[in-house]
């Protein structure tokens, strides 16, 4: 009997060995190694020294880093907006009307296309002589052409819009899955009681979607704070530092200027920030009490 138990655990580890080895190297190691790295001045070109908390002191005096942190936090504005719009979209496509599946698919297309393609399309649409300006001028909403992505006051918000536009379909599908898990007799009971449509949404749908709201909020929160692709492709943080987000700044410091030690310190600060924010979301949503996976 004892021998059999041993064999089974031996086989188990043999099954898991390749996967766990890769996870150790590419998931655990970055988490672990990032910490000591952030206390050094490792930079490939010169000798590496232990520098104590110097990187962290520098970070909090680094104006560009502080701006990038602020921009990343500002990006979080999209989190509640994404939830509201995608829940409404999910309710809209949850009906059993003919052709609704085609619409679901259509809304999902931006999710499956690459950010490179999406960024390219929107950069054209949003340029000075682009389609967006054409329509806004026609409608009288603006008086002059706006260079949406190269004006410091609009660029960050335009990027937020693009992030949202690309992600809405994804969150819609997650919420749709939640909606379809709500037993229909609950709705019928509410209708018998004479509840209005909005009342039903507010008192039945939203509370029952709570685990999904928590999950989607967490994912979109992390996505927002770590936003990279769209910013890197479209503005590289510019004009000036108006769209510099923390991920872009860390990438510039690390993989463009090869300041690995400093970049790791910045990464650690951001990781702690994300961790704290996630805990806050959990607290805020405590009644949901759900394991996202």
């Amino acid at each position: 009997m004892k021998r059999w138990v041993w064999t089974e655990s031996y086989t188990a580890w043999a099954f898991m060995a390749p996967g766990l080895a890769l996870i150790a190297v590419f998931v655990f190691w970055p988490i672990i190694y990032g910490i000591p790295l952030s206390f050094t001045d490792y930079s490939v070109i010169s000798e590496t020294h232990y520098v104590g908390f110097d990187n962290f002191v520098t970070a909090f005096h680094d104006k560009n880093f502080l701006i990038s942190l602020w921009n990343s936090l500002l990006y979080v504005i999209i989190v509640p907006i994404i939830q509201i719009i995608s829940i409404m979209m999910a309710i809209l496509v949850n009906g059993k009307i003919p052709g609704v599946k085609i619409f679901r698919t259509a809304y999902y297309i931006p999710v499956v296309t690459s950010m490179v393609a999406v960024a390219l399309i929107w950069s054209w649409l949003l340029s000075n002589n682009g389609v967006v300006n054409f329509f806004l001028l026609k409608l009288g909403l603006i008086n002059d052409q706006v260079a949406w992505l190269s004006t410091s006051s609009t660029a960050l918000f335009v990027l937020m819009f693009i992030t949202m536009w690309k992600g809405l379909g994804y969150y819609m599908m997650l919420y749709l899955a939640g909606l379809q898990g709500i037993p229909s007799d609950l709705y019928e009971a509410a209708r018998v009681d004479g509840a209005s449509r909005w009342r039903v949404i507010w008192s039945i749908t939203i509370p029952l979607l709570r685990p999904h709201i928590l999950f989607c909020t967490l994912i979109s929160l992390m996505g927002a704070i770590r936003v990279f692709d769209e910013v890197y492709i479209l503005t590289k943080g510019g004009p000036g530092t108006s769209t510099l987000t923390s991920s872009v700044y860390i990438f510039q410091k690390g993989l463009e200027q090869f300041n690995f030690g400093y970049a790791s310190a910045l990464g650690l600060i951001v990781s702690i920030l994300v961790g704290v924010l996630s805990v806050l979301v959990f607290r805020f949503n405590q009644k949901g009490g759900v394991n996202p996976y």
Binding site: M16, L22, I31, V100, V116, I121, G130, Y293
Partner: protein, 281 residues
């Protein structure tokens, strides 16, 4: 009877009209940009910034596609993308299925520990992973190779959980009956269990296919030679070099986007189940 029914029907009709109007408006908002790109790509010589904007093509000509195909060496980039994507999908499917199987069906010491550690990685964010990955890939002498592109995302904790969830639903008799016949654990896994979890394999394949197909940054970081770039990375290159030739860029972008959209359209049922399964469990 009919007097009470008629206004109700009327209201239902209006409601349906409102719903379809909303659905169509949203569809235009989500699909419009792609349709516009398609129409730009099909009209050589037409300016993207023409006034009024050309939403629908007034003529159709594939000249942009022919020219950009010849100029960009697309077969090479498509080959790179396909190899990277195939490697990524194969690694992810095999490794997730292997790693998740004992976690779901075996009893062994350390199972809970492995499980807890895996969950921990999903909670602790790493903002500098890419930097450490770069150092690791360099240390393994894999810079410039497709393997270097694929390896850091060859296995994901998310996929392991998805796979484990599926294995949990398989009756244990199957493993027992395999044992009775004297099959090894590996053969039971390969020949008896895997065929039963095809939907989950399909889901992982699809999710990873899209992720690898669309990935542009890591390939640029790891691959020193632009000739090895996959499509998404090559497009940023094209965009930088020919920012004036809108038709070519539009056609190039369409070429990169069409395969993945086609795959999605044909497999969306599995795909949707997969992302929905992410919240359950």
């Amino acid at each position: 009877m009919s007097a009470t029914l008629r206004p109700k029907k009327w209201i239902a009709g209006i409601r349906l009209a409102v719903v379809y109007t909303l659905l169509l408006a949203l569809a235009l908002f989500m699909m419009g940009p792609f349709l516009w790109l398609l129409s730009v790509s099909l009209m050589p010589g037409k300016n993207v910034f023409s006034n009024p904007p050309a939403i629908l093509p007034t003529f159709i000509d594939f000249d942009n596609y022919v020219k950009v195909w010849q100029f960009m060496n697309f077969p090479k980039y498509i080959y790179n993308t396909v190899v990277i994507t195939a490697l990524g999908v194969i690694f992810n499917v095999i490794l997730a299925a292997l790693t998740a199987y004992p976690l779901a069906t075996f009893r062994f010491k350390g199972r809970n520990l492995v499980f807890t550690l895996l969950i921990a990685t999903m909670v602790i964010p790493s903002s500098t992973a890419m930097i450490v990955h770069y150092l690791t890939i360099q240390w393994l002498h894999l810079t410039g190779s497709f393997l270097g592109v694929v390896l850091p995302s060859a296995v994901s904790v998310f996929n392991i959980f998805l796979m484990r969830q599926t294995f949990l639903g398989i009756p244990s008799d199957i493993r027992d009956s395999g044992k009775m016949d004297g099959a090894s654990e590996f053969r039971i896994w390969l020949q008896l269990v895997l065929p039963l979890v095809k939907p989950a394999i399909a889901v992982i394949s699809l999710l990873e296919m899209m992720a690898f197909w669309n990935n542009f940054l890591w390939p640029i970081v790891v691959l020193d030679d632009p000739q090895k770039y996959p499509l998404a990375a090559a497009l940023t290159f094209l965009n930088g070099q020919f920012s004036y030739n809108f038709g070519w860029i539009a056609a190039g972008t369409m070429i990169s986007v069409i395969p993945i959209i086609t795959v999605f359209l044909f497999t969306q049922r599995y795909y949707m189940e997969g992302i929905a399964g992410a919240v359950k469990g």
